[in-house]
Subunit: 193 residues, 2 copies
DNA sequence: TTTGTTTCTTAACTTAAGTGAACGTTTTAA
DNA sequence: TTAAAACGTTCACTTAAGTTAAGAAACAAA
């Protein structure tokens, strides 16, 4: 796991052995069981997550209904809005699988960043990259139909369709579970014809 | 305009007079006429934009049809994906109104950031904030119907509905112009009833 | 193992978005 | 100034998603 982290960081900056040691001494790794809720609506957490292995999701409870909006798998990062704005969270974060996370605290991050400007630079680069990617994902969502979104997911993140419950996948695609079932049946018929 | 910029920056970091002078000496301001295309599909630009006054949009041309996915107005920032990834852009950027922009080049940014770590920190904070906000916007989009999205926009960015062509607004809401017209008519009837 | 719960799918019906076309209005450009 | 293009709305029709309900399958707990 330590290697996965260092490998990831090396995409952005190069670290001295001393810096590596500082990083690894911070006790960042956490194992969480499937079903664990990491953040609840209304809470004011200071934790950010980086998935080393497994899968977590963000979801809302609207009119008593769960709406899953995002899945985070290997090498995905999530800093909840509440951490940035210091306001109660609008959404939940939960574990879909047994997961190994890298958990960081915003205060600790700020401290490390001010000591090691290099980390500051890495975070800037990483955030900017995620922002640009997220925009494209959003654009793709806006410009396509539920069926296109499903087919798109099928070849971009085929693993997700296997490892994630269908009703969660449905709200991720912006539709109801019944519509996802119907849509899949429709595609199979099309393939045959 | 200079004041707007400095005011904005002061939300994140405080600058010495010297730093302010360096910043203002960089020739960042650009006036662009309505209709100007700042970035075309396939181009590999290095420019980021910050809107001081006016409005720009990102759009795609899919099957010969324009699909507008985002509007950027006063104090909104946009770093195109192509700038980050150094690959050809998938989308266009165009001016909807006569606009005053702050334009920065990625190479120049990196230089300034390495000279003034403070800017690095600011960019990190700003990117992280935008990323968290963008996620919430995306989540809201996923969890609501076109009609809810329109009503939501109506009270979050009421100016947009006035200043932007309806067919561009439609694709921004993920629907066709005809559906937007119908949807608006439907809402008016509901209000009366 | 049995029971109960959750999940997934199917179906019939309702509602709303997509499509193609028409038409008046506005904007643009020659 | 005038002709052409683009824009916004309405309409009739088609297609697909939402809703409600029911039943089968998978999963979890007693």
């Amino acid at each position: 796991m330590e290697n996965l982290l260092l490998e990831f960081i090396s995409k952005y900056i190069s670290l001295t052995d001393e810096e590596k040691n500082v990083l690894l001494s911070l006790d960042l790794f956490r194992s969480v069981k499937k079903g664990t809720v990491l953040l609840k609506e209304g809470q004011n957490s200071k934790e950010s997550y980086f998935v080393l292995k497994g899968c977590i999701r963000t979801y809302y409870i609207l009119d008593g209904e769960e709406k899953t909006t995002a899945f985070y798998t290997e090498m995905d990062a999530l800093t909840p809005h509440c951490v940035i704005s210091n306001t109660p969270s609008q959404y939940y974060i939960g574990c879909i699988e047994d997961t190994i996370l890298l958990v960081s605290n915003i205060d600790m991050e700020e401290e490390v960043n001010s000591k090691f400007p290099k980390f500051d630079t890495m975070c800037r680069m990483f955030s900017a990259e995620l922002l640009a990617k997220n925009k494209i994902d959003f654009d793709e969502f806006k410009t396509s139909s539920p069926e296109q979104r499903y087919l798109n997911l099928l070849h971009k993140r085929p693993d997700l369709i296997q490892r994630v419950p269908q009703h969660q996948l449905a709200s991720y695609l912006g539709i109801k579970p019944q519509s996802l079932s119907r849509l899949k049946a429709r595609i199979i018929v099309k393939d045959k014809g």
